[in-house]
């Protein structure tokens, strides 16, 4: 009992010990904050990354893809059984995106993916990242009237309104141009020279190939209407659209800040615009295909790598265009099969089963789980978290040495009292437990304060970031870099428990040595101590 009495009295009269515990508090608070933010980031990234691909992705590296996906799926279902609850097939092909923007041709390298929105949505979060609220529920490749991305002023007109507007303007321009040319038919060359001058490098570089496509068509598949020339004749852009395409938002926009520091997106193309895509055909004798699509929506997953690479088109459209249909049997080919597994299924086991069935020696297939695909990124984040944790625990260990020094001083200061207690019959164990429980108390007080402080910080982290921004004028959390509007945080109770136990443990360890010294003290020498 005297242990606790003395322990509390020492705590109350020796504030210097509380000072030594502040470093523990700070260490614990930092650990809580860092872990919450890191797991917030990691979880957000996990979500995003997982949302972009099915649990298991089978990629076929052959340009023609793998024929008969239904047969493959049946075979996979046979070997994996009930674990597969969803599947989607798609065609993925590298492509060049051409956007006409104010008379200039803008070219972007994209990954063109032909998909079926319904099944694709069942294996990954595809619709979720679209702009139009209805497409988020039920994605289609049809241009909508409007109402894209409520809250985004830049896209206020997107949809049919925008399309009719630009078509109208273009027709007016064409008319004026035609009138002008009719007025001075003697100088048709100079007009072209002016056009070339207006459309500098890009326009010059791209226009020949576009022109080639405009020229009497090379039609690989007579079934597909991919000759823009023939299409334009039959299609009224006022009322009709080309096959729909959903562009990754960064393929057709740049993000910048205006003078007031607000983030603004500038769109080269928005829903309603027409864009061109060039991509290789599937035939053995690969040719470049050129096809016009109408942008029907934008895709924003906030993973810059994806947003700047993806262009989604209807699966059938792409299969037709690339000639991925066996002319004799009508069997279609795909390049990618994505599988969704039942919750709790062992991804790696399923992957290995499929790999065994389609061994890489025989098939040009690459079977991966979504984790395999994102492995380097995920493990980098994991490593970063681990290293930060180690570093921060070192900070608490440093605090432990502070406690050690303080406690040694207190033991020396209390030497005479220790002698007195021994003269009164206190055991060595009892005396050492005074100091150990002192350490435990300080550890709990320190880490408790740190815990509360850290949690409060995490709770208000975005407000705090705002205050720091105001104070320093520096953006703490730049949405143009991170694509998060707010700092994501996740507080994991288990982490809190570990951090607290670790901090208390270090405080206890640091108090054990001085306590042992106190216990071993010779009573007579302690009593004589001046």
């Amino acid at each position: 009992m005297y242990r606790w009495l003395l322990c509390f009295r020492y705590l109350r009269t020796r504030y210097i010990a509380l000072a030594s515990i502040i470093s523990v508090t700070l260490g614990v608070a930092t650990l809580v904050i860092v872990n919450s933010v890191m797991s917030g980031f990691a979880a957000e990234m996990h979500d995003r990354l997982h949302g972009l691909a099915g649990d298991i992705v089978i990629d076929c590296h052959a340009t023609g893809g793998l024929p008969d996906p239904e047969g493959h799926l049946a075979e996979i279902k046979r070997i994996c059984g009930d674990e597969i609850i969803g599947s989607s097939v798609s065609v993925s092909v590298p492509a060049m995106l051409g956007i006409e923007f104010r008379g200039q041709q803008i070219g972007r390298h994209v990954n063109m993916i032909g998909l079926d929105p319904e099944t694709y949505n069942s294996v990954s979060d595809f619709g979720k990242y679209l702009m139009h609220p209805e497409n988020q529920q039920n994605a289609t490749f049809d241009l909508r009237d409007g109402g894209y991305a409520p809250g985004r002023e830049e896209l206020a007109d997107a949809g049919w309104k925008h399309r009719r507007h630009w078509v109208h303007v273009k027709r007016l321009q064409d008319k004026i141009r035609a009138q002008e040319e009719a007025l001075k038919p003697q100088a048709p060359q100079s007009q072209e020279a002016i056009d070339a001058a207006q459309g500098p490098t890009f326009g010059a570089a791209l226009s020949p190939s576009f022109a080639a496509a405009d020229a009497p068509p090379v039609i690989p598949n007579p079934l597909s209407n991919d000759s823009t020339g023939t299409l334009q004749a039959t299609l009224d852009p006022m009322e009709d659209q080309f096959p729909g395409i959903i562009l990754g938002i960064s393929t057709c926009s740049v993000r910048a800040r205006d003078a007031d520091g607000n983030v603004i997106d500038h769109f080269y193309a928005q829903p309603g615009d027409d864009v061109r895509l060039m991509f290789p055909s599937a035939s053995d004798n690969t040719k470049v295909l050129n096809k016009t699509f109408t942008v029907v929506d934008l895709y924003e997953s906030k993973m810059s790598e994806y947003d700047s690479m993806f262009a989604f088109v209807p699966l059938k459209e792409l299969q037709d265009a690339r000639g991925m249909i066996d002319p004799q049997t009508g069997v279609r080919s795909v390049t990618t099969i994505q599988l969704k597994l039942a919750a709790g299924a062992n991804l790696d086991a399923v992957r290995d089963k499929i790999r065994d069935r389609f061994p890489p020696e025989l098939f040009a297939y690459n079977v991966q789980t979504w984790r395999d695909m994102q492995g380097p990124l995920l493990s980098a984040v994991q490593l970063e978290t681990t290293i930060l944790n180690i570093l921060l625990f070192l900070i608490i260990a440093v605090a432990g040495f502070g406690i050690l020094a303080t406690f040694f001083m207190i033991v020396v200061e209390k030497t005479r009292d220790i002698g007195t207690l021994k003269a009164l019959g206190a055991s060595g164990r009892g005396i050492s437990s005074i100091f150990v429980s002192y350490g435990v108390l300080l550890g709990f007080v320190g880490s408790g304060a740190g815990l509360v402080g850290g949690l409060l910080f995490v709770q208000n982290i975005n407000e705090i970031a705002g205050v720091i921004e105001v104070m320093t004028g520096q953006e703490v959390f730049d949405p143009t870099i991170y694509y998060f509007d707010t700092i994501p945080t996740i507080v994991r109770p288990l982490t809190l428990v570990w951090v607290t136990l670790g901090a208390v443990g270090i405080a206890v360890l640091a108090s054990v040595l001085p306590a042992m010294r106190a216990a071993r003290m010779h009573p007579v020498q302690a009593l004589r101590f001046e």
Partner: protein, 245 residues
């Protein structure tokens, strides 16, 4: 010296105690075979020149230190080589120890200082169960030394004489058989010292408490029942007729 007293009248006895301090290669023999008997219910004074080894002997008797040779018996039971916990219990309950410099715990109030030995001797639950009685006993002890009104005061708020009284109350808390006092008045003025001595002899008379007291004051020594002299590491002594003057 050999006593003719019956064994049950001896509360504490020592036989052939030797204690030598070693500093580097120099050996300082302080006790060279001390024999001692403290009679039950008597005040025994221990005098001797400074540095003669009185405190050293006291520490051995209180089991705060161990003799190089010799034996110590408390009520016939050997205690110098008893187990650690037995010695702890002996110091806690069987003897009360008073020092020249009081040695109160500065963080505790007077009453808490008095209760401290009771706390030390009990487990927490035991203590909490008997809290009220112990509190009452501590108050009674403080009252005995005339300091009940200062119960809430810290040692730093008290005079030397008051602190020594609190120390006496603390020594009495566990109802010991024997009081070991190392110059209890050494740090006090004569008048206060006389008060303290009066208190001690009252305790001796009323409670039949045995007292072994180191002192430099010949007058005090003369008023004791037995006066022992420490010289050259040995004890010599004579019994004084009780309250002869």
């Amino acid at each position: 010296m050999i006593h003719s007293t019956a064994p049950d009248q001896i509360v504490l006895s020592a036989r052939g105690l030797r204690r030598t301090y070693h500093k580097d290669k120099l050996a300082v023999p302080v006790l060279r075979g001390v024999d001692l008997d403290v009679e039950t219910g008597k005040v025994t004074a221990l005098v001797g020149r400074s540095g003669s080894g009185k405190s050293t002997l006291m520490h051995l008797l209180a089991t705060l230190d161990r003799p190089d040779q010799g034996e110590i018996y408390f009520q016939g039971k050997r205690i110098d080589n008893a187990s650690r916990s037995q010695r702890d219990r002996y110091r806690n309950a069987d003897v009360g120890i008073i020092f020249q410099f009081y040695h109160l715990l500065p963080e505790l109030s007077a009453i808490e200082n008095v209760i401290a030995p009771a706390m030390i001797g009990r487990s927490m639950w035991n203590y909490l169960g008997q809290r009220r009685q112990l509190q009452q006993r501590a108050e009674a002890m403080l009252d005995r030394v005339g300091l009940l009104h200062r119960a809430k005061h810290r040692p730093s708020e008290m005079s030397g004489g008051e602190m020594q009284r609190v120390a006496i109350a603390r020594a009495l808390m566990t109802d010991p058989k024997l009081l070991l006092a190392d110059e209890p008045t050494g740090n006090l003025d004569t008048e206060t010292g006389v008060d303290i001595l009066k208190l001690l002899s009252e305790l001796n008379a009323d409670d039949n408490l045995s007292i072994l007291m180191i002192t430099h004051d010949d007058e005090i020594a003369a008023s004791a029942d037995v006066c022992l002299r420490m010289q050259d590491g040995l004890l010599s002594g004579k019994t004084v007729p009780r309250r002869a003057a």
